[in-house]
């Protein structure tokens, strides 16, 4: 099998140029779908008979929660690729994924807390899902903190990749144990999402938002990665050309 494409995938320049073509389309579709999904969820989906209108928060909360968990795996896979094949681009993706993942986890936490106020009458309840989210947030913060702590970029990349992998092994265990702990201490009767009971009229806007968030995640990841690539490759010819520098003029100096 020809592995050329895989090698090329690791080339920052190739990545930058391919994504340049993709970017306008992706931006357009992402924003359009997110807009459609929010309007649908906010105004056109029927109100929940138990929770009233406050349940409309799930159209934001659930996709954010999905993505924060999936984002951790994206980060872990990127880290593993970086460690195994020493692919620098993978580490760049890993770094970007950490920031985006932490932001989305934060969004999921905040929206969960705001939903809790009208529903349980309290900003914070030790609900299994929200507690797991909080732990995930801590895991993200740990990875970011470790990345920032090292001066040497290589060491920062390698150590945080190992930490993400260790975290990946642990996440299912943490989730299971938090679930178990929750059932031990009388579960709250109302849950933010009850997958089995959700009506199609609510499911479709939710699915739209989930798709929108996945696209948004890809978009943000690409944007962060592109910015980072330019910084890393600042002394190369193609970046200079990209900035509109007369390349031949510069050569005459040598």
């Amino acid at each position: 099998m020809n592995w050329q494409w895989f090698h090329r995938l690791g080339s920052p320049r190739w990545f930058y140029q391919k994504t340049s073509v993709l970017l306008p389309w992706l931006t357009f579709f992402t924003l359009a779908i997110l807009l459609v999904g929010s309007v649908w969820g906010l105004a056109f989906a029927p109100a929940d008979f138990k929770q009233g209108n406050s349940y409309r928060i799930i159209f934001l909360h659930v996709p954010a929660a999905f993505l924060s968990l999936a984002g951790y795996y994206v980060m872990a896979i990127a880290g593993a690729v970086g460690l195994i094949w020493r692919m620098k681009l993978a580490f760049v993706v890993m770094r970007s994924a950490a920031v985006i993942g932490a932001a989305l986890t934060f969004l999921a936490l905040i929206s969960g807390a705001i939903w809790g106020k009208p529903t349980w009458g309290s900003w914070w309840v030790w609900d299994a899902r929200i507690t797991s989210m909080l732990v995930l947030f801590f895991l993200y913060l740990g990875v970011i903190a470790l990345q920032e702590a090292y001066q040497s970029e290589t060491t920062a990349n390698n150590t945080s990749a190992i930490l993400t992998l260790v975290g990946t092994v642990n996440i299912p265990i943490i989730y299971k144990s938090v679930d178990w702990w929750f059932t031990l201490h009388q579960p709250a009767t109302l849950k933010l999402t009850q997958a089995s009971t959700i009506h199609p009229s609510m499911l479709y806007p939710l699915l739209t938002m989930v798709v929108g968030f996945y696209l948004f995640y890809a978009l943000a990841l690409i944007l962060y990665t592109r910015a980072e690539i330019l910084k890393r490759e600042c002394r190369t010819k193609w970046v200079a050309e990209l900035c509109g520098v007369d390349v031949n003029n510069k050569i005459s100096r040598a």
Binding site: I114, A240, N249
Partner: protein, 68 residues
């Protein structure tokens, strides 16, 4: 599929849950905007910086070339 509220004011109020729902979506918008704008700004700032650097270099070269 139909519009679930009597009026626009109803939509804003959401039978009392309005502040919570709108606050959530507001924060959501902020997070989304932050994640999209930060890298774009970073990039353009970096390109500007790089351009200035190259211009500086070119100017320095010009002086060297014209020196006797």
């Amino acid at each position: 599929m139909k519009f679930q509220f009597q009026s626009l004011a109803d939509l804003v109020a959401m039978s009392g849950h309005g502040p919570y729902v709108w606050a959530c979506y507001g924060i959501g918008l902020l997070v989304v905007a932050y994640l999209l704008i930060t890298p774009v700004r970073q990039k353009s700032k970096f390109i500007r910086q790089l351009r200035r650097q190259y211009a500086h270099q070119a100017a320095a070269n010009g002086r060297v070339d014209s020196a006797p």
